[in-house]
Amino acid sequence: MSNLQFDDASLRFAGGARPAVNRVTCQINSGEIVVILGPSGCGKTTLLKMVNRLYEPTGGSIFLDGVNIRNRSATKLRQQIGYVIQQSGLFPHMTVADNVAVVPRLLGWPKPQIQARTDELLELVKLSPGEFRDRYPAQLSGGQQQRVGIARALAGNPAIMLMDEPFGAIDAITRTALQDEILRLQGQLKKTILFVSHDVEEALRLADRILIMRLGEIVQFDTPFNLLTKPADEFVHTLLGADDMVRQLGLLRVGCAMMALPPNYSNGHNPTLSHLDSLRDALSLILKTGAPALTVLEEGNPVGLLTLDHIRESAVNGR
């Protein structure tokens, strides 16, 4: 469990015309995935690297679990923060197992524990240890390399993970698979994840909340649903492509738009779907069955109703 707090954090590079990060104040809660989204040069990577002190703020402070990170040794701090970067940054002269074992070794774990941990993590990212343990990074595909990168970042069991456009250089199909993997892992591990991306779809898929930046400043920091339905300004609206209704519906979950079950609800003959399904799935189901309303299930129990009007309402609000 780990929360992160930016308090008026700024960074101005020597000779920079404007601050790369300008007076950022926000709170990242324990166990949430926050995607930092924005065009290139907006300061998103800079903000991320301030958390593990690869960059030091020139103003303001950053607190990890209430402790100013400046008061901690940079190397000790970094060993407790998982770090995944775009080009995977795997050490080419080390085997997969040795790459994963880097932080446990820095932390001085006993050998048997490191070995067990390495195999456990390779299993976790779906790389069979027997097959992959002794390979070198050059013998892996891009997607496999990034899986190792994720396993390596998780090795020291950090409570917080920083991911700097980890899937930016990976083909679309593999990228989607890896995003699913992140969501699956997060379901198991409940890390606090700060994830930099310039890909709107990726941000909407992964994020509990999205932090939108422009010119070093926070423009809006909210849930995907609120960003789509109540964008702070034209920039956010355009960035998220809020005009593409069908796409938008594909990204919104049924749970966000449904109404609570009326008191007189009796289990009629409504088609059912899960609260995790997208509104696009719901629309498709309504068109297919011609039913006036859908019953929304959570773990098999009805929790709400959804009609075409609810879907239309979400779309209208988005515009």
Binding site: Q87, L90, F91, P92, V103, Y136
Partner: protein, 210 residues
């Protein structure tokens, strides 16, 4: 060939002199090139003057360079060894700087971001990655050194070159052939040994070829 077989003791003495000169000069050259290359890697603007200067030095014919050094170090092995050190610098420093610059920035950033200290980054990441490139430089430098050491016989430094120069002066073709074979064999063996070491230093490349 006959000379080699009938005078193994003499040839061995000369071979050991040759190896000694080459070994000492390589040792000094490596010890000198590492701090120099680190300095050049840290202070980029030094790259052009340092590598340029060493490159100019490399173009001076070895005979001329040794003659130039004789007044300073005397007519003995020292002059030859100094010349060998000067010659091999450009190879060693260039390979080391190029090797260090060739390490992917993403790898270095990952090392830093994962919490390695400066010395851990050096010993666990930079050294193993630069070692194969550096060893390739050492191999070339060793061959250059063996060649220059041959000329050393002219300057009273001994070594296998003595067979060649004696042979020329006394019209003993058997000696010339013996000397040529011995020097060539030495160069080939040293090259092979260092190549094997280079190969051993990069497990990732070794596996890829298999």
């Amino acid at each position: 060939m006959n000379y080699l077989l009938s005078n193994p003791g003499d040839v061995l003495t000369l071979l050991l002199q040759h190896l000694r000169m080459t070994g000492i000069s390589l040792g000094i050259a490596i010890a000198l090139s590492v701090p120099l290359a680190l300095l050049v890697s840290r202070l980029r603007w030094l790259a052009v003057p340092v590598l340029g200067g060493l490159g100019v030095l490399y173009t001076i014919p070895s005979l001329a360079l040794i003659i130039f050094l004789v007044p300073l170090f005397g007519l003995n092995a020292t002059s030859v060894i100094v010349a060998m050190v000067l010659y091999t610098q450009v190879i060693l420093v260039r390979n080391l700087t190029v090797g260090l610059a060739g390490i992917s920035p993403a790898v270095l950033e990952a090392a830093r971001g994962m919490g390695m200290s400066v010395s851990q980054r050096w010993w666990r990441v930079q050294v193993p990655l630069v070692l194969p490139v550096f060893l390739a430089g050492v191999r070339i430098a060793a061959i250059v050194a063996i060649a220059i050491a041959t000329i050393g016989a002219k300057f009273n430094a001994g070594g296998l070159g003595k067979l060649l120069f004696d042979g020329i002066q006394t019209n003993r073709y058997d000696k010339i052939v013996a000397g040529a074979i011995a020097v060539a064999a030495l160069a080939l063996v040293i090259n092979g040994l260092l190549l094997a070491l280079e190969h051993y230093a990069q497990p990732q490349r070794r596996l890829k070829r298999d």
